[in-house]
């Protein structure tokens, strides 16, 4: 029996870890036993959720069965994770209990739909496939009015998504001929659009929103939704009206991890930011949205991707005795499709993440509607590489 590597989660982090290990050991004489567990049968390409909401993609186009991993010799188990016991090195699931030598936890953030009062009845969110489809139905019925897009805090998946959705909606509503009787407003906790990424990106996004007639309300610290008034209130008393409200739900770290010895029950798990190993259990790696906000990295798939490759490298070093693969690069990129315009921003967070000092080095790698092709190519490459048919 080879070294047992157990991967929890079939999102970006888990999928890339499994594939990186497969590639490292493909031609080696020693091979680990790799098992990936996820409660979902499919891996979904989350950056395309807004495209599902806007009808550019159908659900089947942006997901593939995780069972395809079997072709690479990776065992996939469709099960709900119930308990993690790092002292006994076991993970209990709805199907079986699994033992491991190395554990990679990439369970991401959970959407806490009940976390905000009146959220469930009032708000739409293309931050999940179901949410995207619900928004698509609502947009079909939408005849004009006030669209309000905003965030409840800083912790939500894919920070640029609200701006992207606003741009895509503007484009779609113009095509539908009802843009003139529709207001689109974004509210955000930051003073400017993506201003925490610095002026190089923020000014470009502000210009695009301005060209599209999308209003931005900054320093808006969300307080509550008032369904009677159809308004969203900020903590300072300001309010914004809506006919259609789009907001990411409250996010919370995965509850199984939070209830395990990997966490104290209320805070994010504690990892060494240099290695992503748990500070107490060094054979446990934790990556992605479940830990990144605690180590000053954005909750985005691209970060989990690079963490996964580095984690696979560390596991390879331990199994083989030495290996030179991927280092961790704290960079983030994201293709922001605004419908008839698009931006490819990038940020390097080395100083921010290592020394807790700034600013991040950010810039725009490309702008123009042709950037959408890059997103489409990346989507195709993602599936071809990681869930090969």
């Amino acid at each position: 029996m080879g070294t047992r590597v157990l991967i929890l989660g079939g999102g970006s982090g888990g999928l890339v870890t499994a594939n990186a290990l497969y590639h490292i050991f493909k031609n080696k004489s020693v091979k680990p036993d790799i098992t990936l567990i996820d409660k979902n049968k499919y891996h979904e390409f989350m950056p395309s959720y807004p495209w599902v909401a806007l009808g550019y993609r159908d659900p089947e186009e942006i997901r593939r069965p995780l069972s395809l991993l079997k072709r690479k010799g990776i065992r996939y188990v469709n099960a709900v994770i119930e308990n993690i016991d790092p002292d006994k090195q076991t993970v209990k699931t709805s199907e079986d209990t699994f033992e491991y030598d190395f554990l990679v936890v990439s369970l991401g953030a959970e959407l806490n739909i009940e976390g905000i009062e009146h959220y469930k009845e009032e708000a739409h969110h293309p931050w999940s496939m179901q949410g995207a489809m619900n928004l698509r139905r609502a947009l079909k019925e939408f005849k004009g009015g006030k669209i309000l897009i905003g965030v409840q805090g800083m912790y939500y998946r894919c920070p640029p998504a609200p701006f992207e959705i606003a741009g895509q909606l503007d484009f779609m509503l113009r095509a539908k001929g009802i843009r003139d009787n529709t207001d689109i407003t974004i509210f955000h906790i930051t003073p400017g659009p993506l201003s925490n990424m610095g002026p190089a990106i923020s000014t470009v996004i502000a210009e695009i929103l301005n060209n599209k007639g999308v209003k931005f309300v900054g320093n808006f610290e969300f307080d509550r939704i008032s369904p009677q008034e159809k308004k969203v209130y900020a903590k300072d008393g300001r309010s914004l009206p809506y006919d259609l409200l789009i907001m990411p739900p409250a996010h919370k770290p995965n509850s199984v991890v939070m209830n395990s010895p990997l966490s104290n029950g209320k805070d994010f798990p504690v990892v060494d930011p240099e290695t992503f190993r748990h500070v107490k259990y060094s054979n446990v790696f934790i990556i992605g949205d479940i830990v990144n906000p605690a180590i000053n990295l954005p909750p985005a798939g691209v970060v989990a991707h690079f963490q996964a490759e580095f984690v696979a490298n560390q596991i390879a070093v331990e199994i083989i005795g030495g290996y030179i693969g991927e280092s961790f690069t704290p960079v983030a990129m994201c293709i922001m499709d605004f419908g008839d315009d698009a931006v490819l921003p990038m940020c390097e967070f080395t100083k921010v993440y290592k020394d807790l000092s700034g600013p991040p080095t950010c810039g725009v790698l490309g702008r123009g509607k042709e950037i959408r092709l890059v997103k489409e190519a990346f989507e195709a490459m993602w599936f071809a590489n990681y869930l090969t048919k």
Binding site: N19, A20, H23, T190, P191, S195, N196, G198, P199, A200, S202, T203, D267, V270, V271, D272, P273, E274, V279, A294, I295, N296, H305, F306, E309, E326, T329, V331, M333, M346, E348, T350, V352, K354, D355, L356, S357, G358, P359, T361, C362, G363, V364, L365, G366, R367, M381, A384, N385, Y386
Partner: protein, 167 residues
């Protein structure tokens, strides 16, 4: 595609594809593609190196400048500038370059063409100065915002024993 019964055109296409595959195989192209395909999953990590990204962002910005400049205005101005320059900068002048004495400088300053050029330079300096000011304000706002985050993060890390590397 119906594989039970191929049409004549499909058969012909498959035969040509098979011939091409043999040629590619014999020339080692298939072998090369096979090796290169192994690099595909690594490509993202290598292209996402901060150094590459910074080069990319700077090239993109230079391209953006070229995009913003109106080609009609730019080409008309540059053509006239080059024409004027070619009239003024003669080989005779190159061999015996004039000296800018105080008297000559005063004479130049009275020249309306020089006055227009100087005015343009001052307009440029004014805009450049204003942009320094705006950039400084933008950076300060961002740093203030980040400093608040960092203070919170440092307290949190210290409380929970997460290591912080010294600068």
């Amino acid at each position: 595609m119906n594989t039970e019964k191929l049409t004549e055109r499909q058969e012909e296409a498959l035969r040509r594809l098979a011939d091409l595959a043999v040629k590619l195989h014999e020339n080692g192209v298939i072998d090369l593609l096979e090796q290169l395909s192994e690099l595909s999953p690594k490509a993202i990590s290598y292209l996402a190196e901060p150094r590459i990204l910074k080069i990319g962002a700077n090239i993109s910005f230079i391209l953006h400048i070229l995009e913003v400049i109106n080609p009609t205005i730019f080409s008309v101005m540059m053509n006239n500038f080059i024409e004027a320059l070619s009239k003024e900068m003669t080989p005779e002048q190159m061999m015996n370059p004039p000296r800018a004495t105080i008297g000559k400088i005063i004479k130049y300053m009275r020249d309306p063409d020089v006055q227009r050029a100087l005015a343009m330079i001052f307009i440029f300096l004014k805009a450049f100065g204003a942009s320094i000011n705006t950039s400084a304000e933008q950076f300060k706002r961002m740093m203030d915002m980040m400093e608040k985050q960092f203070t919170k993060m440092k307290e949190e890390r210290a409380k929970r024993g997460i290591p912080i590397k010294e600068k």
